[in-house]
Symmetry: C2
């Protein structure tokens, strides 16, 4: 069963997909479990038959470095067009065609993003670009969501480091809201302005090079949240230049390494936001880096308002990569502002 | 430090509140911890001096049954009016005055809502009503959010069963969205229509009496999600009749007991949604019951789209309270629809 259903209270779509209940550890157990060593890792070299055949591989002939496979438990599948059906006044449903892929970061089961070398992270970013580019040519698809869940608390169900790519037949709520944010800020690109403003104040900058800026944004909703902004303005990740993508891969590696140094081996989510393929609206692609240190509880669920117990000025001061810091104004300047 | 900051990408407010980092176990540890038995429970009888003085108590003279105290680590505090300040084009902040209270469900450390008797749950609901009524008379406040977090995975930081009441100086996003949902559905009340429609189809009804209906809503976003709808239409919980409130308290007790029978001792959040105090728009107060069985991961964070791996028809069939079931049409009728 795979169906979109509309919540008429909030206007949000929900995916009801009972096939995904068959995933390993679909329900978070109350106590974290040890890695299941009774079965071989489906993403390790030598176990390629545990996944569907690769859609794409990268690296030297005969030895893949990055491997993209269909997700065995897809949230979206098939080429159904997006057709909405009303079953009475309050029951609105739609088909949920689309694509759901897994991108295995490297052959190394023990190497998350911060432990990969620069060539490997460049290859990962190139693979993400290629997959989104491929999705953008599939009739009926409108948007690709690339994500990475690292650690059980962040929702990873397989330990071997991997990202996921979901090609969707509708533009999801969060993107629509961000597009509205860019549209409200009409005079200039919102994120170009944010990049300038954060560099101006300086003390929320975590990492900066000539192609990428990473900050703990002023409006951080979770402790140690980071926002990665490519300096070259462009709505689409899949239209970015190789050098920019390589720089993004390197910046992610660097700041995740800092996160580990400062906070420890915490779970986190990466969210790659790129404009819908054929969006005429202004947009600037970017990456949200969301450490999972706190729980989304009743207040956050009930109000949509996040409570962040670590101020981003403090977080940036701790995370800041030596040699990449901004102006370094004292944290108190904002804390008392 | 306690400050509202605006995310210009999504238009959402974030609360930056570093005082709350001082709470017991503010950061979710990667491994659940045992109850801290080295310190006495601040919510148990005899330890009243561990909290600020009670704002209200209920029950026989000298022996409280329900106790309401100020939260030691308030998310909102003080009578600052809601004043927005722009610090440049992308840094928008506001003061965050308000009220944050704890409502201790009963003197019994080991008795969550499903183990309370009907008199006690009626008293809890009356206390929630009284506090919201009190908030509604505080100048500058516009909305009260009542919630209950049960279990560590759902965000509870103190084990002794308690609810929380937050009086806010602005109407939060989720409420604005629900108000828009009611406004879109202009011909008749949206939730009265949902109640009729769910009773008509029957097979998502979990509990029904002459005052309350509980369903696994058609658009459930999480496994075993329930929606409690009081049958008497009214926008405001704090204007409800005692008999209706008592019936809601009893229904919550019954369905949480069923949840425990069916799924086990899982964490959950209760969200009480009542209209902003002086809202002219149509609304119908209700309670969201949100078991915490799965993790909000990168896809959900990045898109705002929930993936529910248990279809609500199946959930309702399992949860359904004997003698309270609806029409009982076969699950397959929808699963194949």
């Amino acid at each position: 069963m795979n169906q979109l259903r509309l919540d008429p209270l909030t206007g949000r779509w929900v995916v009801v997909n009972t096939d995904r209940a068959k995933r390993p550890r679909a329900f978070s157990p109350p106590v974290p479990v040890q890695a299941d060593t009774s079965r071989p890792c489906p993403f390790c070299p030598g176990n390629e038959e545990a996944t569907p055949p690769a859609l794409e591989t990268y690296g030297p002939e005969g030895h893949w470095s990055v491997r993209v496979v269909p997700n065995l438990y897809p949230a979206f599948e098939g080429d159904d067009p997006f057709v909405v059906t009303n079953r009475g006044p309050v029951f609105t449903q739609a088909t949920a065609g689309g694509i759901h892929e897994v991108l295995i970061l490297s052959p190394d089961h023990r190497a998350p993003w911060p432990l990969l070398d620069d060539d490997q992270t460049a290859m990962v970013m190139a693979a993400i670009r290629d997959r989104i580019d491929e999705h953008s040519n599939v009739p009926g698809l409108r948007y690709s969501q690339a994500i990475l869940n690292a650690g059980r608390e962040a929702g990873a169900s397989v330990e071997h480091p991997h990202a996921q790519l979901l090609g969707m037949s509708f533009v999801p709520r969060e993107l629509v809201e961000e597009q509205a944010g860019f549209a409200r800020f009409a005079s200039r690109c919102l994120l170009c302005t944010v990049a300038d403003a954060e560099e101006n104040v300086g003390y929320r900058v975590v990492y900066a090079d000539d192609r990428v800026l990473v900050v703990c944004p002023f409006w951080s909703g979770v402790p140690y949240e980071m926002l990665l902004i490519p300096r070259n303005h462009g709505p689409h990740l899949h239209h970015s230049q190789p050098a920019d993508l390589a720089a993004v891969g390197r910046a992610i590696k660097t700041v995740l390494g800092r996160l580990r140094d400062v906070v420890g081996d915490v779970a986190y989510n990466l969210v790659f936001h790129s404009a819908p393929y054929r969006a005429p609206e202004p947009y600037h692609w970017h990456v949200h880096i969301l450490p999972k240190l706190t729980t989304i509880a009743g207040f956050e669920l009930g109000t949509g308002v996040l409570i962040n117990i670590v101020n981003p000025e403090q977080a940036a001061e701790e995370l800041c990569v030596p040699g990449h810091h901004g102006a370094g104004a004292p944290v108190a300047a904002v804390a008392t502002g």
